[in-house]
């Protein structure tokens, strides 16, 4: 892949505040047209990374290239192609939402009144544009922040915790918006979040930070590809079920799960030669009453838990 295929390239990026490294030795490459999730617990260095990508914070080490150009040398040129929502959305409280967007549009090289109205409508604020932002709820400010980020039709959009303070309909709207930006408009989106499920649903690629260091970097489909099939089975009685499962060569592991409601839940790891259908038939033939059988997907939460467990054991 050539350098032109990447919107963001960072090498050995690091930021030290006093004696503490907030980000350390971070290499980052984000492909054009993808949605990349920057994940990590609070204090992992996500916001500092985003700020370094925008030139708000000077790296103590390493360098950033956006659209193939050095951020330090071509700051104005590259920032004109970037839109962002950094941390909490911030606006001039004494001005209306529309006036705030007008100002930000002017700072980004000029945006038409029609474009401002269309953007307000896109984030569900079409009829609240004339209200002063001081009277906006947290969710409305977050929506206006998103509007400000995409207002000037940037090629690269950085969103820092875009789902904070949003109600469920707004979460759906933002999730759809992020996918649309990438799939329909060909934009590159970098979303920082600690909400693993949301990132899993909207991102193609994830980078996981922990204590300022990158611990995972890869495509979501590859990272979540199971190395073995796993099935959750709910049965009436665990005894006969385990007896039958332990006798099967195709079953590698059986775990008793915390159970709610009727019956017992077992988590079964399947090896070669045994699929969910054969498992179901075998259990029924062994006289076990199976009330549900659900193939398990690996999630980012599982991945995150595994990493924490690995670190703890190390």
């Amino acid at each position: 892949m050539s350098s032109g295929d990447y919107v963001v390239e960072a090498e050995g990026l690091g930021k030290r505040f006093g004696q503490r490294w907030a980000v350390r030795e971070l290499d980052l490459a984000i492909e054009r047209g993808t949605v990349c999730g920057l994940l990590g617990p609070n204090g992992a260095g996500k916001s500092t990374t985003l700020r370094m990508l925008l030139g708000l914070v000077r790296p103590s080490h390493g360098a950033v290239r956006l659209f193939g150009a050095s951020l330090r040398d071509s700051r104005l040129h590259v920032l004109a192609r970037v839109g962002c929502l950094i941390e909490a959305p911030a606006f001039y409280p004494h001005l209306s939402g529309r006036k705030n967007l007008e100002i930000l549009g002017q700072l980004s090289g000029g945006v038409s009144a029609e474009r401002i109205q269309a953007t307000l409508e896109r984030v569900g604020l079409g009829d609240r544009g004339e209200d002063r932002t001081a009277g906006y709820s947290t969710g409305m400010k977050q929506r206006l922040g998103l509007a400000a980020a995409i207002l000037h039709d940037p090629e690269f959009v950085l969103l820092d915790e875009p789902l904070n303070g949003l109600d469920p309909p707004a979460v759906l709207l933002v999730r759809r918006l992020i996918r649309e930006l990438a799939e329909k408009e060909g934009k590159t989106v970098l979303v920082s979040s600690h909400m693993l499920h949301e990132v899993e649903l909207s991102c193609d690629h994830v980078v996981l930070l922990r204590s300022g260091r990158k611990v995972v970097d890869g495509k979501v489909t590859e990272l979540l590809k199971p190395d073995h099939a796993q099935v959750a089975v709910r049965v009436d009685d665990a005894g006969p079920a385990r007896e039958w499962l332990d006798a099967q060569a195709g079953v590698t592991k059986v775990t008793l799960e915390a159970s709610e409601g009727e019956g017992v839940a077992l988590l079964v790891d399947l090896g070669e030669g045994l699929g969910p259908a054969q498992l179901n038939r075998g259990l029924i033939e062994a006289g076990v009453e199976v009330s549900s059988l659900t193939p398990r997907r690996r999630t980012l939460e599982d991945l995150f838990e595994e990493l924490i467990a690995e670190e703890a054991s190390a």
């Binding site: 104005l76 962002c84 004494h94």
Partner: protein, 281 residues
């Protein structure tokens, strides 16, 4: 660069014009200037009463009232300029809009220049309004004529044309220390992210500069703080027929201009440097 600066200037101007404080301040400046003759007469009567005399100031005329009115209104303008300049960047930091602006394709030094120039424009407009309002009220209350010696009415000390020139020159030169005040206020605004603390820092800086000027005549000559009110103070002296002040007027005004311009450049450079070097977190 001019295009970018012009855009930023318009943005900053529109933000300032949306501030209620600015309009309240402008109204205060106009009212204070219009009330100039009444206030001057009241001060003259109070002074005469305190000294045991009967009448007011025999040398009071339209020009003395005009310069006194503008001097009083100027104090309000300096106050307004200090508060607005010192809170300009700090307020953006406290609202979080500093990072929003700095993440856009904006040069920080140009943004600071736009902030300084837009506030200077509005404060200059307030000063001009003050001069116009003071002229109107002085004309209505006393009339603006040649300045004559009250004991020898045939003797004209300064003609109407001379006085008009003194007022115009004083007004123009007063704008330069005003620019220095705004530039240094903006520098203070880049030091802390709290508008109140930044305003406190700006006021403290002015007090220190003023005190230093009081202690050292050499420094006073080269401090813009002591020269903020000097032009109209000289106009007042001239209208009061201190004829010897004419030479001082002609010598001091250019010094006020270049000294203040120097302070304005230093203040702007410090503000731009400080904002340019800091991390925006």
């Amino acid at each position: 660069m001019i295009g970018r600066l012009w855009t930023l200037y318009r943005v900053e101007l529109s933000k300032l014009l949306a501030r209620r404080l600015l309009w309240v301040g402008a109204l205060g400046v106009i009212l204070l200037s219009l009330a100039g003759p009444a206030l001057s007469s009241a001060f003259a009567a109070a002074q005469a009463a305190a000294e045991g005399g009967e009448g007011g100031d025999a040398f009071q005329n339209g020009w003395t009232v005009l310069s006194a009115s503008v001097s009083r209104a100027s104090f309000l303008i300096w106050l307004l300029a200090t508060v607005l300049a010192a809170s300009s960047v700090a307020e953006e930091a406290s609202w979080g809009t500093l990072r929003v602006v700095c993440a856009r394709p904006v040069r920080r030094a140009e943004w600071i220049a736009a902030k300084v120039l837009s506030l200077w424009t509005l404060c200059s407009a307030a000063l001009l309004l003050s001069v116009l309002a003071a002229t109107l009220s002085a004309e209505l209350a006393f009339g603006l004529y040649d300045v004559v010696d009250p004991l020898f009415p045939d003797r004209t000390v300064h003609t109407f044309g001379d006085m008009r020139w003194f007022v115009t020159a004083a007004c123009a030169v007063s704008l330069i220390p005003l620019l220095a005040l705004i530039a240094l206020g903006t520098f203070c605004s880049t030091l802390v992210d709290h508008p109140g603390h930044a305003t406190g820092a700006a006021v403290a800086l002015l007090v220190v500069l003023s005190a230093a000027g009081g202690l050292s005549p050499g420094f006073e000559e080269h401090s813009f703080v002591s020269q903020l009110g000097l032009p109209f103070s000289l106009v007042s002296d001239l209208a009061n027929q201190y004829t010897g002040k004419l030479r001082e007027f002609n010598e001091d005004l250019p010094r006020v201009a270049w000294v203040s311009a120097l302070w304005a450049v230093v203040g702007y450079q410090l503000a731009a440097l400080r904002l340019g070097l800091r991390d925006v977190v």
